[in-house]
């Protein structure tokens, strides 16, 4: 009996220590706040073969964050960081819009496929440049991707000539705004990406190797892990996923805004990863946690707007979430709780014989 109780207590401790758990709690709290503000908040409508409602909006808003957060998660696992994802997004968006607007048959499927392939190719190439700077040249990830972050937005501006290019293509627009089985295509795609990456890294030794690099890159090299190739791969993958997110972000409005598309989304992605319990120091990662982090950020964004607070104030609420989660993780705060619990247990013990 006591054995079982202690086991349950142990399990509870493990869950509470898991940072992703607090992410879920935060999502539930936010949804509850919305529910108080509007009792019909969670209702989901169905018409015309598509589900609608606030929850669906959140899923749709979460999709681009999920895509780049998965890439970021792998990069962070190797002890790196990718500050350039927002800039790569805008490059991919700029390529898409510029190509589509220069083609004179706007609604052809071939054009859409060609454009997206080219945009994703360029995004992957930019990610690979990050990877080469980090793995071959040996620069710190922070600075290599900072260079790409500065340069990327410039490249996007050069591609569009500083304009916010607009284009028309039904196929591309459908990708961003369409529905399959009632759910937004973009969300389903992000789920597919998450599942694919999850299978790839957890059903093979790949995830372990990435973590080995993050823990001790020298030891991993001695153990036969091909650090250079793997780092090149994760930065390329991060670039590719950012490219996909960029195509979707621009396709949903069919306009690329060279100074705002993907702006500071790298911070959202890093935040999602950290909320999910992945340490920026590298060596361990949790894609499931990053997904929860991404959903939390999307929920937070939507909640702030829903409650009528100006959207530009959202960062302050993100800050509160970061600080709260960091404090929950902090050893100092935890030991404070432990002390209190120990004190309470002691006083109970003393109370019993008396």
């Amino acid at each position: 009996m006591t054995d079982m109780a202690s086991r349950i207590a142990g399990k509870r401790g493990a869950i509470v220590r898991n940072q992703a758990f607090w992410g879920v709690v935060a999502i539930v709290v936010l949804l509850a706040i919305n529910l108080i503000a509007d009792p019909g908040y969670l209702s989901i409508g169905y018409s015309d073969g598509r589900l609608s409602g606030n929850l669906i909006d959140i899923l749709r808003a979460a999709a681009p964050i999920l895509m780049i957060a998965v890439g970021m998660c792998l990069v962070v696992a190797t002890g790196g960081i990718d500050l350039s994802v927002g800039s790569i997004m805008v490059v991919a968006g700029a390529v898409t819009m510029e190509l589509l607007s220069s083609m004179n048959t706007p609604d052809s499927l071939g054009n859409a496929a060609l454009t997206i392939a080219l945009a994703l190719g360029i995004a992957t190439a930019l990610g690979a440049v990050n990877g080469i700077l980090v793995s071959v040249v040996g620069l710190q990830p922070f600075i290599s991707t900072l260079v790409m972050m500065l340069a990327g937005r410039g490249i996007a501006k050069v591609i569009t000539g500083g304009q916010n290019t607009t284009a028309d293509n039904e196929q591309v627009e459908w990708l961003a705004n369409g529905y399959i089985l009632g759910l937004p295509v973009v969300f389903l795609l992000s789920v597919v990406i998450v599942v694919l990456v999850l299978m790839l890294v957890r059903r093979s030794a790949l995830g372990l190797m990435l973590e080995a690099i993050g823990m001790d890159s020298r030891a991993s090299r001695l153990a036969g892990v091909k650090r250079r190739n793997l780092q090149l791969t994760v930065y390329s993958v991060s670039g590719l996923l950012a490219g996909i997110a960029g195509v979707f972000a621009t396709a949903s409005v069919m306009t690329v805004d060279v100074s705002r598309t993907g702006y500071q989304l790298e911070l959202d992605a890093i935040l999602a990863v950290v909320i999910g319990g992945t340490s920026l120091a590298g060596g361990k990662f949790s894609i499931g946690g990053a997904v929860i982090g991404g959903l939390l950020i999307a929920t937070l964004d939507k909640t702030v707007v829903f409650l009528g607070i100006p959207a530009s104030a959202t960062p302050a609420f993100k800050a509160i979430v970061i600080v709260a989660l960091c404090l929950l993780q902090s050893e100092r705060v935890r030991s404070l709780f432990r002390q209190r619990r120990a004190l309470r247990a002691q006083s109970q013990k003393e109370a019993v014989p008396a």
Binding site: I81, I143, L150, R153, S279, A313, K318, C326
Partner: protein, 351 residues
């Protein structure tokens, strides 16, 4: 992998003979190479600019360079402190936004200008303290902690106001940007400075003294070299690291005053990306992002290189303004690769 990183001046172990001359020091220390390179590039840019466009080496252009970049120089000094300890501060740009919006609103609400300016600086100190406490007492990584402060400051600025807040035309804060003529040249070719420029020069001087001549400065370098060793040596690591972020925030507050007085207005989107400009200036100036090695004067040169680059791009006219960030990125890349080579060379020498 024991790359010993020592403060560049004044603390060489063992019997230190009479102070070596500056050229000796620079020649002997490979770590100064990136800074020297930055200086050479700066001079090269001036010569090129003078040859290609003319009217660069004249009082007017050079004073504008200082006046327009005074705030960036102050931020670069702030980031030098942080980066020397191996940390990072992403919040300076957002602190400027919050501090200037708050300051302008207070001044317009009838506060005494001195009080408003003081509040602007203290807002910086307070936010710096928040970052410092998160980092030092709760073990949050500097990147995440200052990211939180950045979000907080940016969000608070947006809550105050999302439209440009103008200072009244007769506000005393504007007088901080009064142009003081030092040399009266012909036509518009005057050497002018503003109180903002004076502030930045004073801050650079103080930072130089603090970093290279005080116990605090030596502790900063020691923490950057190896925090663990610094702790074992009994250095006041906690207080110093806390102090670094307070200094960084305070200087961001000062930069907010300097910038706001020059512009005469403030907005919640002021200072977006300035933390990156400042980091770029520090890196170009030869400070290693891993901490432990660098010079505050190098960061000033870095900031001036960035400022001069903008002047040259504007003068050229043929370079599209969209290229600015690409060129910044390129210059940054060249300098970090240079640093990388220097570090590799030094490691070779040691083994």
């Amino acid at each position: 992998m024991t790359v010993t990183t020592r403060p560049p001046t004044g603390s060489a172990p063992g019997p230190a003979p009479s102070r070596p001359s500056i050229s000796d020091r620079l020649g002997a220390r490979l770590s100064a190479l990136p800074t020297v390179a930055a200086l050479l590039i700066f001079v090269g840019m001036i010569i090129y600019g003078e040859a290609a466009y003319g009217r660069i080496v004249q009082f007017n252009t050079l004073s504008n360079l200082l006046v327009n970049n005074a705030h960036l120089i102050i931020l670069a000094v702030a980031l030098t402190f942080v980066i020397l300890t191996g940390g990072i501060d992403l919040s300076v740009g957002a602190i400027i936004a919050f501090s200037s919006v708050a300051g302008v609103m207070l001044a317009n609400a009838g506060w005494h200008p001195v009080a408003a300016v003081l509040v602007m600086v203290l807002i910086g100190s307070a936010l710096g303290l928040v970052s410092g406490v998160l980092i030092q007492y709760f073990g949050v990584q500097p990147f995440i902690a200052t990211l939180a402060t950045m979000f907080l400051a940016r969000g608070l600025a947006s809550m105050l106001s999302t439209v440009p807040e103008r200072l009244a035309d007769d506000s005393a804060i504007r007088e901080l940007a009064t142009q003081i003529k030092i040399v009266d040249g012909d036509k518009v070719n005057d050497l002018v400075i503003t109180p903002g420029v004076i502030a930045s020069i004073v801050i650079v001087a103080i930072a130089f003294i603090v970093l290279h001549r005080t116990r605090f400065g030596r502790t900063v370098y020691a923490i950057g070299g190896s925090e663990q060793s610094a702790t074992l040596m009994g250095l006041p690591v906690t207080v110093t690291k806390l102090g670094i972020y307070v200094i960084s925030g305070t200087l961001a507050g000062v930069a907010a005053v300097v910038y706001t007085s020059r512009l005469g207005s403030a907005q919640n989107i002021t200072g977006i990306g300035w933390e990156l400009d400042a980091i770029a200036a520090v890196v170009i100036g030869g400070t290693l992002l891993t901490g432990g090695t660098g010079f505050v004067l190098g960061s000033v040169v870095g900031a001036l290189v960035l400022g001069l680059m903008n002047v040259l791009i504007t003068r050229d006219g043929g370079i599209r303004p969209e290229m600015t960030t690409i060129i910044t990125g390129g210059i940054l890349l060249v300098f970090v690769i240079l640093q990388r080579l220097v570090a590799a060379r030094r490691r070779q020498e040691q083994t």
